[in-house]
Point group: C3
Chain length 337, copies 3
Amino acid sequence: MKLSEIASRLGAELVGDGDVEITGVAGIEHARPDQITFIANPKYAPLAKSTKAAAILVEPDFPALEGTATLRIKNCYRAFAQTISLFYTAPKYTPGIHATAVIDASAAIGDRAHVGAYVVIGADVVVGDDAVILPHTVIYQGARLGHRFFAHAHAVVREFCRLGDDVTLQNGAIIGADGFGYARDGSAWVKIVQSGAAVLADRVEVQANACVDRASIGETSIGAGSKIDNLVQVGHGSTVGENTLLCAQVGLAGSTEVGDRVILAGQVGVAGHCKVGDGAVATAQSGIPSDVAPGAVVSGYPAMDNRQWLRSVAAFTRLPEMLRDLRTLRRTTNPNE
Amino acid sequence: MKLSEIASRLGAELVGDGDVEITGVAGIEHARPDQITFIANPKYAPLAKSTKAAAILVEPDFPALEGTATLRIKNCYRAFAQTISLFYTAPKYTPGIHATAVIDASAAIGDRAHVGAYVVIGADVVVGDDAVILPHTVIYQGARLGHRFFAHAHAVVREFCRLGDDVTLQNGAIIGADGFGYARDGSAWVKIVQSGAAVLADRVEVQANACVDRASIGETSIGAGSKIDNLVQVGHGSTVGENTLLCAQVGLAGSTEVGDRVILAGQVGVAGHCKVGDGAVATAQSGIPSDVAPGAVVSGYPAMDNRQWLRSVAAFTRLPEMLRDLRTLRRTTNPNE
Amino acid sequence: MKLSEIASRLGAELVGDGDVEITGVAGIEHARPDQITFIANPKYAPLAKSTKAAAILVEPDFPALEGTATLRIKNCYRAFAQTISLFYTAPKYTPGIHATAVIDASAAIGDRAHVGAYVVIGADVVVGDDAVILPHTVIYQGARLGHRFFAHAHAVVREFCRLGDDVTLQNGAIIGADGFGYARDGSAWVKIVQSGAAVLADRVEVQANACVDRASIGETSIGAGSKIDNLVQVGHGSTVGENTLLCAQVGLAGSTEVGDRVILAGQVGVAGHCKVGDGAVATAQSGIPSDVAPGAVVSGYPAMDNRQWLRSVAAFTRLPEMLRDLRTLRRTTNPNE
């Protein structure tokens, strides 16, 4: 595809030779002379001079470049994401229900659904239009799924769960399995029935082998546009707001409340009943044992203000010499000690 | 259901109007005027005055309340758990074997089993009475499962594993996959055959996408009544005692020994060959590199006594000022430095 | 099997009575008088005197033992691994394609394949010779799998992924699910198509419920002989070298570069775009936010040199008394403060 055509499809300003033939996309350090790349983060700007790419997607105010063409557009990272789609065709799943799908007679499947081999759909399930349900997906009884539901092989939606429109489940994602709820009876644990559904609003994506548990009472709720990465645990009765990211292996204990536009980086843990305010960010591996204010950036365990944590961990490496100096000082000031 | 009927079904003492109609259960902050709630933890007692609930389940010695009915009963949390069951009917699975189940002729399935669509059961498998085996469960050859075995869709039990009575597997739980055992051969790794089964005693529950590996030699063993949460890793050859809780994303390395009535909170890790004594508790994200005494409460990494850890992390936030003070002191006491 | 026969099969030097009948293998503390055990780590040498085992596999220079036979051989741990195989027969899967397998007409399956019940294989898939594909495995369109591919029940290989020879997937392993890639659009997140395959070289093993994501651009790559344990997350676009071990619950964020012969112990996390040099080791739960030098041994979060970390965590437990001493000193040297 000619660079000029890419520019026109993206609505980007082209500076340089539009006739060059582009065959694909790549990161700035790996790009070949027939590929297009991008610079979204100013700290990578110096690489613009050394890249072999034919062209670079940049923000409109990016400095002029010699020798390499630029496509200038606001939110160039998003434009780059679009560019990938110009060169890659994901598998298409045409409407049709595989002969081996076991669908209860009481289930209602919307128009133009693709239902793959060995899919099992239980009683009273409702699925919206244009769903793609790949092999081995299991939908338990009473679940309600919106339009354009997309389930990869081995996804599971448990009984009575409700999913909005445009929800995507990657392989092995489990929505609505029993929460970890037991009551003590002497030294034994008695299971508490998990009566509440998991509810996913529109445009939620849950990635591979992640688990969003159902609730013992009430419901577990994920807000519109939130994205949940691989191997994440969302405990029973938790609430996650809108457009929040839970990165890989994050764990939310039961009844956690996470706000809108929060980012919990990889392996972060949040204790039960904690509230994480809107727009807060927790850096990787943070452990959150108590409420986090809206907009806060926290790190460490127990999680604290990120800048304070950075100062403390810098001092942490000096702890042995601090201990030694302190002993010396004590001897100096109190020679009889 | 009238409040008086709930009281009578639970065997609780009713204080207040038993004629009020209860339609469901809820947490104390979310309860509506037609719902019943509970206070098991005294720190929530003040909420008894502000809740909108029609009635509260409390311990027998809970102070008298004005305006809100109470049901008084020992272990009111357990009673609350029972109350949930009065208002929620979980799906029922009637006996019968789905036409698509592939069951080896040599397998012995007990009476009244429910075997769902696309279940695969291998040679020489034995399953007790009253089992519920939901779609896509795979039981490998030679596995032995007790009475009332309950497997949710996509659970797996590997070859020769043995499960007691009343074992429940949530979706995607994997019992007896190969342990992570390799011997060095130069810079390469040679796989060690994992010859030992995973053995789960009575009343063990393993939740979604958790993995209990088989052993290279001997066996991996989970004691009666223990509960294993989502995404937990139990390494090969580990031993877990009775009535122990492994919360979400806990990881036990190989040959770990965890005692009875232990609680490992979310994301705790235990190193190989460590022993965690009976009744010990590790708070969330603790890392346990060495043995933990019975009854100990530990935190942090490396895990230490919880109270000591709390004091140390409190001081940790003051490390930068400690470093600064120390420098000042050194200059004061040794001006020539 | 007589001990002398084991010695001869292993090519080990027998010291002691070769006529004793051995019925199995066990760890040194659990071995019975009819079992064989091993001592690979010199710190367990004292147990040679107390073990009940009939014989011990040891390195050639192990001190002479009274009363217990020894089999002397270099890399005795590897020899022990071989010994396990003498006493355990893993299930065999004979060639044949189950009647319920759904295999696209355009797929090419090599000779002598075992394809189990309810396996689904998509269009244009190529599988090498001697593959074993157990029930419920799903191979998406365009995937290419080498000789002796072994997939346990519920494994998934996504579209266009490429696996070398002798690759093993344990149950629920997901190769090539979508990476966690979104571009901001105001407060919303727009999905970035994940166009690049996950590529596993020869002899890679991926264990239960682990996830190796596909890449947005380029590919995600795992080098020959590397082993990936249960519940590990390999983020999109990451590169892992040869003969590297990623232990259980390790998480690699996107575009991580991990070298050859690296060992990341359980629950380690590596931030995006970090490089971990060849031969580096990170102890359990380490968090790696920046590059790690080849051969380094790192611990803690943020990860630092292991010896420095050991000194710092030793001092950490003394922080409260350090804080108190510092206050005392300040009062002593500056009484007016």
